[in-house]
């Protein structure tokens, strides 16, 4: 998977959780909780969806590393050995 594929997968799962987010206008530095208003259940569902799709299990202490699309793409790329 290329870093671009990983980013795309993350954003697809994010939009599944919050269908009102428009992937075309989503900025890479938007904060999942502060800007996009995901709550703790949304974050958990997102982490579960990423686990299922990419096989990456994100520990709770690593949640700050996926708090924006940019950070999440970098973190997941590194976890997948990209």
């Amino acid at each position: 998977m290329t870093p671009d594929d990983i980013r795309k997968a993350f954003i697809e799962e994010l939009v599944n959780i919050a269908p009102d987010i428009d992937p075309d206008t989503l900025e890479g530095d938007e904060h999942l909780q502060d800007d996009l208003e995901l709550d703790s259940m949304d974050i958990l569902n997102l982490v579960a969806a990423i686990h299922k799709r990419l096989g990456v299990s994100i520990a709770e202490e690593d949640y700050p590393q996926i708090e924006t699309p940019d950070k999440a793409a970098a973190y997941l790329t590194q976890r997948l050995g990209g």
Binding site: A18, P19, D20, Q33, E37, D39, S40, M41, L44, N45, V47, A48, I50, H51, K52, S57, I58, A59, E60
Partner: protein, 389 residues
């Protein structure tokens, strides 16, 4: 003959629009079956029926906006005569040759099998499928007898997100409903308020350790612990758990309404039945389920009306407490603030501890501050031993 009527789905509902029938004349219905979908100010709600019998006649048609109490259908109980216009009864099934000893009364005859080649579907789903050019044969039905219902169409081919204007209008309607219910509450209920800051360190440590070894899909949220502890405390402090209509009636069961914030605004608090008796994993699964369905607009009518107390978690928004408004006919609302690290004195030393503030809004017609205080300290005690929750 029973008349099935438009139910009241809360203090704030005056009318609803019938959008789907999931049964037709001749179908057998049991207590708790979902028989229709009604659009309300709080979204589409699946309406359950609370009697058993056969649907004799449908009295409301799709798209009709009907006041609470308007007749929707006529239900024929066991042994009642068919109304004149009902179709002839299905032929009796042939008796088994060998009489089974002490066989239970024959189960109700299944609904007549659809003609061969006809896929069972609700009329609204059939109509919608034609409009949206979806082949019913490609779908799996989840309605009664495997019939295809509107929700199955949306699952197979999600609708585009509603237009901004629709969404705005929907939120404005919901805001009106919330305002009406809260005004009624403030007018009629003599509220009193209590606030109690408690140590949440034991629960936090237990939760972190439990989640460390769990895959994401099996992890718990602190909200599940808070909900369970509140429900168990409510089972003890009976005067905060129940309904006030003509006087206060405490409820034997605890069905905690769990406040779910909807994206873009609005709030809905579906009830989780017997919350105090569920395991933490079951509470977590129930929370996940009602949140998903609240946001998709697929809650059931009983979930809108069964709540005996409401619990609201302010989550990670960073505020400590809320003087909330009780959702009538309930008599108490419990709110949890943001868990945060604070300096605390433990064994004479100042140490950082995770704390949380519990707020209680309660109805003076059912309890007073002394009982409310006991209730909050009971929640505190339960949260000190999270493993036993």
């Amino acid at each position: 003959m029973g008349v099935f009527r438009m139910p009241s789905l809360g203090a704030d509902m005056e009318a609803g629009t019938l959008v789907e029938w999931l049964v037709q004349p001749g179908d057998h219905v049991n207590r708790g079956d979902v028989v229709a979908v009604v659009e309300t100010q709080k979204g589409a709600i699946e309406i359950e029926i609370f009697e058993e019998g056969e649907v004799a006649r449908l009295d409301a048609s799709l798209g009709q906006k009907l006041p609470v109490g308007a007749p929707l259908a006529l239900i024929r109980g066991a042994g009642e005569e068919a109304p004149a216009e009902a179709p002839a009864p299905a032929p009796q099934p042939e008796k088994a040759a060998a009489p089974a000893p002490a066989a239970p009364a024959a189960a109700a005859a299944p609904a007549a099998a659809p003609a061969e080649g006809v896929i069972p579907a609700s009329p609204a789903a059939r109509h919608e499928a034609r409009e949206r050019e979806i082949d019913l044969a490609t779908l799996t039905g989840t309605g009664p007898g495997g019939a295809i219902v509107l929700a199955d169409l949306d699952r197979a081919r999600p609708r585009p997100a509603p237009q901004v204007a629709d969404r705005k209008q929907m939120l404005a309607e919901m805001r009106k409903a919330i305002a009406a219910a809260m005004s009624k509450s403030k007018r009629e209920i003599p509220h009193y308020y209590l606030f109690h800051r408690i140590d949440l360190q034991a629960a936090t440590d237990w939760l972190n350790a439990a989640n460390e070894s769990r895959p994401p899909e099996e992890r718990l949220l602190m909200g599940a612990l808070l909900l369970k502890a509140t429900a168990r405390a409510a089972a003890i402090s009976k005067a905060v758990n129940g309904h006030y209509t003509d006087g206060f009636a405490a409820s034997k069961e605890v069905h905690a309404g769990f406040a779910v914030a909807l994206r873009g605004g609005g709030l809905i608090a579906p009830a989780i039945r017997d919350t105090d008796k569920l395991s933490l994993d079951e509470v977590m699964a129930a929370m996940r389920d009602v949140i998903a369905r609240a946001r998709a607009g697929r809650l059931r009518s009983s979930e809108m009306t069964d709540g005996t107390i409401t619990v609201s978690s302010l989550g990670e928004n960073g505020v400590d407490a809320m003087g909330g408004i009780i959702y009538p006919p309930q008599v108490a609302l419990v709110t949890f603030g943001t868990p945060r690290q604070e300096p605390a004195v433990v064994d004479g030393q100042v140490v950082p501890r995770t704390t949380i503030t519990i707020s209680l809004a309660a109805d003076h017609r059912a309890s007073d501050g002394r009982l409310g205080a006991k209730f909050l300290t009971e929640i505190e005690t339960l949260l000190q031993d999270p493993e036993a929750l």
